[in-house]
Symmetry: C2
Subunit: 250 residues, 2 copies
């Protein structure tokens, strides 16, 4: 007998449940977490390198990216985060941010105070494991990003990024039939792919010419996913999307 969880709580629980077992008590403990909702403008930062944040952030709606700025003024995008994700779990255990977190487009986030999270994680090992697992999947995505930057030519690199985006969005119901919102400018994409904006433009044109993708406004359409995956050398294993691939922690 309790109040129905709010939409953000609901989203968080669903996310954690996509790859972990939670008991009813676990879920209701999560549903009781105090959240503080905030709306962000496009390009607004949430935390910056060097900060000591006191809360974690859950993305409810929009698109976030993590990035590092270099002395010469350039920036490197480290990852994108879609609704339901917790992009700065690490601040729970690493006091100083080694990178920045910001909104790509207008977004809505919910903050959860570290203190309350620490308590929850101490009391409930299963919840702790579920969060830990999320941060490990994050790391797996970083690793694939390394492969992308280190070993793939421009066209494949872009293709890979698009495939990953699609599969992650699809997993939370935000993409289907190869179509999804893609509000990333070519300059931004350059920072993410380690390529110049000009070269991004030319590589995108190649992908379009090959009838692999089509773009209009801020919409991305994948026209031939199997072929795009082949071109990009994309294998989704690293996303650890299937519960069957999980370790038993009992």
């Amino acid at each position: 007998v309790q109040a129905a969880p709010s939409l953000p709580h609901e989203r968080l629980i669903r996310k954690l449940e996509t790859d972990a077992e939670l008991s009813d008590e676990d879920k209701s403990a999560i549903a009781r977490l105090p959240l503080h909702i905030k709306d962000l403008r496009a390009r607004e930062d949430i935390v910056r390198e060097g900060d000591h944040p006191g809360s974690c952030c859950l993305l409810i709606d929009g698109l976030l990216h993590r990035y590092k700025s270099l002395p010469d003024g350039s920036r490197v995008v480290l990852s994108y985060h879609i609704p339901g994700e917790l992009p700065d779990l690490q601040s729970l255990f690493l006091r100083t941010m080694d990178h920045s977190l910001g909104a790509v487009t207008a977004s809505q986030v919910a903050f959860i105070a570290h203190q309350t999270l620490h308590q929850l994680l101490r009391d409930r090992p299963s919840v702790s494991f579920a969060f830990w697992r999320q941060s490990l999947i994050d790391a797996a995505i970083f690793r694939e990003w390394i492969v992308n930057l280190g070993a793939r030519p421009a066209r494949a690199r872009l293709g890979h990024l698009i495939c990953e985006f699609y599969e992650r969005l699809q997993a939370v119901g935000l993409a289907k039939n190869g179509e999804f919102a893609f509000p990333i400018t070519q300059a931004e994409l350059g920072d993410a792919a380690g390529l110049s904006a000009v070269h991004i433009n030319r590589s995108l044109q190649e992908l379009r010419a090959e009838k692999l993708i089509a773009t209009e406004a801020r919409l991305m359409k994948i026209l031939d996913l199997p072929r795009l995956k082949r071109v990009a050398g994309y294998e989704s294993r690293y996303l650890h999307l299937h519960r069957a691939f999980l370790a038993d922690t009992t």
Copy 2:
């Protein structure tokens, strides 16, 4: 009143303590973990992409690397691991390996069964947090690796790798005065830096010509660390080496 912990246990405890508070009970619980020691030849693999390991591995002596192999036969090195580290904590929560782990040189490792670790982590939140923190530092290193591959020219990329190696080894007492064992071939280095072996060779020559480093046999000597750091754009914050930088989890 208990037996003194073995050397591997000692090393693990010291590692976790470099950045987490552990109570005496925590430490003795860790000291009681059953370990299974194994010696590895150079280039021997510990786990491969697709495997479902049943234990985690603690490096006692030697050098390990994590890598992914690509369809075209090339490989990308994702990280190096030095004694005291736990390079596959993720297998505790992600059943299927998305990359391989192997020995660069002859090494000695200790295996800890997942089951016993899960039990320990369930029983002792502080120990759990200490391990979690290690895996978050791993992720921080991946992120910096992304910056390295995505944004730095060859010479700086190599310099950065060398600086990181030095500071990590120094933190566990395996390097001093800028000198340390560096048993990595130029071809290997190429896989790690996303450069061809030939270009690695020429970039190393540049660093030597600038009197930044000297190499002999499998030994690396940094001749001018401050200048090397400047050339490489190296900032050690991301290693989270100082306890002062830690979050309070109470």
